[in-house]
Amino acid sequence: MQNFNRVISGFFNLVISPFKTMDPIWSLALFSLIIGIIMLIIFRYTSDQQKIRETKSKIRAYIFELSLFKDEIGIVLSAQKNIFNYNLKYIKYALKPMLFMMIPLVLILIQLESWYGHRPLKPDESAIVSLKLREGGHTLSDITLKAGEGIIVETPPLRIPDQNEIDWRIRARETGDQDLTFNMPGEEIRQKVIVSEKGLVQVSRLASASASGFTDTLLNPALRHLPGDSQVEQIKINYPAKSIEIYKWHVHWLVIVFVLSIVFGFALKGLFRVEI
């Protein structure tokens, strides 16, 4: 899974590279175009295009019938029943390609979330760093945190024993990849904290976790894996949420991708000869 993630992340990194210093809307537009095209291709080759075409024709015909015989209540009701039935059929024919689309779509969206969901800390911005221990390992009071020069640890440790959790508040001082070092008996873990003023950077709130978590690995492409014998279950850095600004409105990236990929899909369906 880790290698798979590495390949996919590498691809996304490559695509995003030219856009890293530009407004994120550009790269999101490109990904929306790619998603739109991928969805069209999948739809074309996994759906029964002929049946979809026929079904849509039928629906159009019954709508025409509705307008022709709007004074004939019997015909109107029958046409409405037929429109409803053919709509159900259309959904049935669209279901299979939808299922095929889901897998690549989820993988793409997970990647995009790691680029556009959160952003690095800015200088002078603070965040909570949480470390969770595995059951039966060290005690929380054994753990200390040291920060490199670009980070300040602002608070003493806040320990929550019944959750095996220990938290600190850190504050970024300088841009760059800053170091945190967690020390505990027999183990030292280094954790990178990304501090950046602008530009697209892949960050994950779940920064490090033990290798066993498949779901965590899948959902957090930027996740760093801890050694198998580590007593630490996970390390989280509470990076701030990122929002994209369009015309002074703050919009979630998913909304932009959703809208633009639909727009691109419909715009290009003729070019790809796809009946949607």
Binding site: W26, P156, P157, L158, G270, L271, R273
Partner: protein
């Protein structure tokens, strides 16, 4: 098919071009360009800085000591004079004089507190909010069929409305008595009078496991007893009244505090936010969402947490839930998105009318140093916002208000006045008020540095300051002198125990005295023909009262409304306006219709300086870089002054004259 394909390709290209154009526009979207000359085409520039409560005597002394170089520079360039305040010298009244150029008879604001003569019930004078008039009830839910309403009760046209009509760019920053902001083209954000999300002037929340018996008769906040269990504290943060529920309960947001077993540090977890605070630390602003109608209606506010103590006792203070300026639930700015633009530039900020939480200090929830820290947060925000406004100011008028001197003078007079009953000779805070003046000198310096030679700068305050040594219970005095009668022995509040069939006069607000007049009050007994004689009689007696402690006159002047007010709202004025001598003021209890046992008591509270006295004793300040020609300038002169600076004549109803105009005999 071929044709269809060609059409598809063409539409795809067109679509792509369209999307690209949209993206370019979005990607290149910049912040609003700074304003240049307004549509009126004027390049005239004027900046007015309003320092609430700045006193001419203190200012003069500190200038003489060389501690206020910028004030000195300004006074040398155009002049420094005392500025006659309003009668009574209360901020909402005084700033309404400033805004309209009228006296209270013209703008209708006579006191912080007015009363409804139909019920003799006190209410806040500057704004009113009304729920939806038509609703439908479904189970436990109440759905509105018409919108609710918030209205500004200040009457009279604001001077900036005339400026807007003449196309002059105007920004009015937090002037009191302007909530909701007026509906015109001037950029405005509301100030004093703006409520918090609970509809009050600021209700803090305090969570503690210490003995809460000492917190009684709280008026500025709520104390919630909590238990620390397994190093956790659970609390509920009260929010706005939920008018969508039957019985209009208070909405709440749950939070949990995790405390470290040894270290003085805690984590507050509220909704999807987490913050870690050390003991003695304030959090940044946190957005809280209150769900009023599931999935349909939410109300958002902002709070700051202050972790006062972790152990031996847990003590957590939470600010009043302020209206979120980035998504305001009530009309705090014009245009509506103006508050959001400020927040975007400088971050979230206090929006409640008086952000300094003096009640939390008075009620011993915050200590002196903690209150100062809180006011420093407010001042920091004000400085950021001043920087934002100065940065975008190109022409027209900028008015900017700062209430710091007023609030610190109220709360720390006791630290510098050995005659004050609450004076502590060992206090380390003796210079708080002086330092506030020095800070304002810094603010002024920043303004002066930002302007060029053709900008007119005016610095003014709405009133000065004086000590508040002794509190006078006006209603008790009226009772003891046979003008008011009670149905029982209790002190009561909101006039609940008053025998209106026998009461001839009552006091409401800080300086108002009303007769129980036939045809006006709901159970009036004083006939119109007896009014004059009764007013004369009461006035004479009030002026003759002496303090048994030192023989001093307590009330130095009493005005009849018709002697000092003019305009359409004279009918709503108190019959008498009581002007207290320096050192005296109406008690907190009497202003809301309570009848404490004693007539006078020492003021041992933290709220130790005041100005709710005879207006002539507490004038404000006026400085300008342009020669002040008026001999006796007054607040009501400011509106005509501003208009004339922009070439607009004085408007009907305005009683003053431009301060830059040569005074002719009989002008004032």
């Amino acid at each position: 098919m071929m044709q269809s394909s060609k059409f598809g390709l063409r539409s795809a290209i067109l679509f792509s071009v369209y999307i690209a154009v949209m993206l370019v526009s979005a990607g290149c979207g910049q912040n609003e360009a700074p304003s240049h000359a307004g549509p009126g085409g004027t390049d005239k520039k004027m900046i007015i800085i309003g320092f609430d409560g700045m006193d001419p005597n203190i200012l003069k002394n500190l200038m003489a000591e060389g501690k206020l170089p910028n004030f000195k520079k300004l006074s040398e360039s155009g002049g420094f004079k005392p500025l006659a305040t309003s009668i009574p010298p209360q901020s909402p009244v005084a700033w309404s004089n400033f805004i309209t150029g009228m006296n209270p008879g013209g703008h209708g604001i006579f006191d912080f507190i007015h009363r409804d003569p139909e019920r003799i019930f006190p209410y806040l004078s500057t704004s009113r909010s009304e729920s939806a008039s038509k609703t439908v009830k479904i189970g436990k839910w109440v759905l509105p069929l018409s919108p609710g309403k918030v209205s500004l009760l200040r009457q009279g046209k604001a001077f900036w409305e005339y400026l807007s009509e003449n196309g002059i760019e105007t920004t009015i920053f937090r002037v009191p008595a302007n909530f909701p902001t007026t509906d015109d083209k001037a950029r405005q954000i509301s100030g004093m009078g703006t409520p918090d999300m609970q509809g009050t002037y600021g209700t803090y929340s305090y969570y503690t496991d210490e003995d809460t018996d000492k917190f009684e008769n709280l008026s500025g906040g709520k104390v919630f007893p909590v238990d620390v269990f397994k190093n956790r504290v659970r609390g509920r943060l009260p929010g706005p009244i939920n008018t969508f529920r039957k019985g209009t309960p208070e909405s709440r947001a749950d939070f949990t505090v995790f405390i470290d077993p040894e270290n003085p540090v805690a984590k507050v977890s509220v909704q999807d936010k987490e913050i870690i605070l050390k003991e003695g630390e304030w959090s940044d602003w946190i957005r809280i969402n209150y769900e009023l109608l599931p999935y349909m209606q939410k109300a958002g506010g902002i709070v700051r947490f202050y972790l006062k103590e972790v152990r031996p006792n847990f003590k957590l203070y939470v600010t009043p839930v302020n209206i979120d300026p980035s998504d305001p639930a009530l009309p705090i700015s014009t245009p509506k998105d103006y508050s959001g633009k400020i927040a975007e530039s400088v971050g979230l900020f206090y929006t409640q009318g008086i952000p300094e939480d003096s009640k939390a200090l008075s009620e011993l929830v915050l200590e002196d140093g903690e209150f100062l820290d809180q006011t420093n947060i407010v001042f920091g925000e004000e400085q950021d916002m001043l920087g934002y406004e100065l940065g975008r100011f190109r022409s027209g008028l900028l008015f900017f208000y700062i209430g710091r001197v007023d609030q610190l003078s109220h709360m720390f007079w006791r630290t510098m006045d050995p005659k004050h009953p609450a004076y502590d000779s060992g206090s380390k805070l003796k210079l708080v008020i002086e330092n506030a003046y020095i800070e304002m000198d810094g603010v002024l310096g920043r303004v002066l540095d930002s302007i060029n030679g053709d900008t007119t700068v005016i610095v003014l305050s709405d009133h000065g300051f004086a000590p508040f040594y002794r509190a006078f219970n006006l209603n008790t005095w009226l009772k003891d002198n046979g003008y008011a009668h009670l149905t029982g022995d209790s002190e009561g509040e909101f006039f609940q125990n008053v025998d209106w069939d026998r009461t001839r006069a009552y006091g409401v607000g800080f300086n108002g005295l009303y007769l129980n007049l036939k045809g006006r009050e709901f159970k009036g007994i004083v006939g119109p023909g007896d009014r004059e004689q009764l007013l004369d009689e009461i006035s004479e007696k009030l002026l003759s009262i002496r303090d048994p402690k030192n023989g001093e006159q307590i009330i130095s002047r009493v005005y009849k409304a018709e002697e000092i007010y003019s305009g359409p709202y004279l009918k709503d004025a108190p019959d008498l306006i009581v002007g207290y001598n320096k050192g005296y003021r109406a008690s907190w209890e009497t202003v809301l219709g309570s009848f404490p046992k004693e007539i006078l008591r020492d003021n041992r509270q933290k709220w130790s300086g005041d100005h709710l006295m005879e207006a002539a004793l507490v004038p404000g300040i006026l400085l300008s870089n342009k020669e002040i020609k008026s001999e006796n300038p007054a607040l009501s002169d400011m509106a005509p002054t501003v208009l004339e600076e922009f070439g607009i004549p004085k408007q009907e109803g305005m009683i003053g004259e431009s301060i830059f105009k040569d005074e002719k005999p009989g002008n004032k």
